[in-house]
């Protein structure tokens, strides 16, 4: 492949080339150097969140806040200095330190980066309670209630020939 062919190819691929009429021959293709100028759609999309504070919702309904250290193609995640938070009724919440997590990717519902300057704003009107065990108990009861309800619905649907896609592990 000749030199000019290579150049024209890199031009058409580089995000910077689109739009601007004149292209500086030196800075052209410089955008290609930055990963963030590519729109990843697979688990590579979270590459920009590495070493930042993130929020992870698990399929069992757990809320985890921690620093994303690494991930792989399955979206297996490693979180450091993780805090688990349970939201309680009457504007209360409880937190527990959990340390290092290695989460198997298939249990992740969503992950989002947190702006550490603004993360405490929504909690200003909430009261932190220190009794995490009670909070866990509340969550367990709530989940059991939900399971009972959904199982009832599934049974009724089954009787009239319908199916329900509820599973006990999906409590988010």
């Amino acid at each position: 492949m000749s030199q000019s062919q290579v150049q024209s190819q890199s031009q058409s691929q580089s995000p910077s080339a689109s739009g601007s009429g004149q292209i500086d021959p030196i800075s052209q293709g410089i955008q290609d150097l930055y990963l963030e100028s590519y729109a990843f759609t697979t688990s590579a999309a979270i590459v920009g969140s590495v070493d930042r504070k993130v929020f992870v919702l698990l399929r069992d309904g757990r809320n985890l806040f921690g620093i994303l250290r690494t991930f792989d193609q399955y979206a297996n995640l490693v979180l450091q200095d993780t805090v688990e938070r349970i939201y309680l009724p009457d504007n209360k919440y409880s937190e527990a330190d959990r340390g290092v997590f290695l989460i198997r990717g298939e249990n992740v519902v969503m992950l989002g980066e947190i702006d550490i300057d603004k993360e405490d704003l929504p909690l200003e009107k909430w009261n932190k309670t220190n009794n995490f065990k009670d909070a866990e108990e509340y969550l367990k009861n709530k989940n059991n209630e939900k399971i009972g309800k959904e199982v009832n619905i599934s049974k009724k649907m089954g009787k009239i020939g319908l199916t329900s896609d509820f599973t006990k592990t999906d409590l988010y």
């Binding site: 698990l58 069992d60 250290r69 690494t70 991930f71 792989d72 297996n76 995640l77 490693v78 450091q80 200095d81 959990r98 340390g99 290092v100 997590f101 290695l102 989460i103 198997r104 298939e106 249990n107 592990t169």
Partner: protein, 154 residues
Amino acid sequence: MLPLYLLTSAKGQPILVELKSGETVNGNLVNCDSWMNLTLDNCIKVDPSGEVFLKLKEIYIRGNQIKYLRMSNAVIDQLKEQQMSNNNAGYNNSYDHRNRRGNSRGQGRRYNSGGRGGYRGGRTQQQPVSSHQQHQQQQQPPQQQQQQHNSVAY
């Protein structure tokens, strides 16, 4: 550094595994593979309600049943240190090559662009041609190594 790599480096250390069913297993990690299948020893298994405890000498966990693993902060720190020392070792090795090369030549050459050096022979006019050629041959392997190091570093 991938998550599974961290897991392999946690071998021998105590970890906590929670399964999708809600059961938790505490124990020392003995082995793991690329499917995240695990073997632990000296384990305590707790049922989903958190009330029934079972002490087991050894347990095998199929990877796809895992929800998450928890481990101590030291695992990450240890891995970081290990990687740092590996990097340093690599750097020192190449530094050695540079020194050795300079000594064998008898005079330092600061500019090493690698590849085809244009100035070779320019400064060694006083030496007999045959010995100069020998020098060149001796020199080449270290220079290649140097080049490799450069391509990694930048």
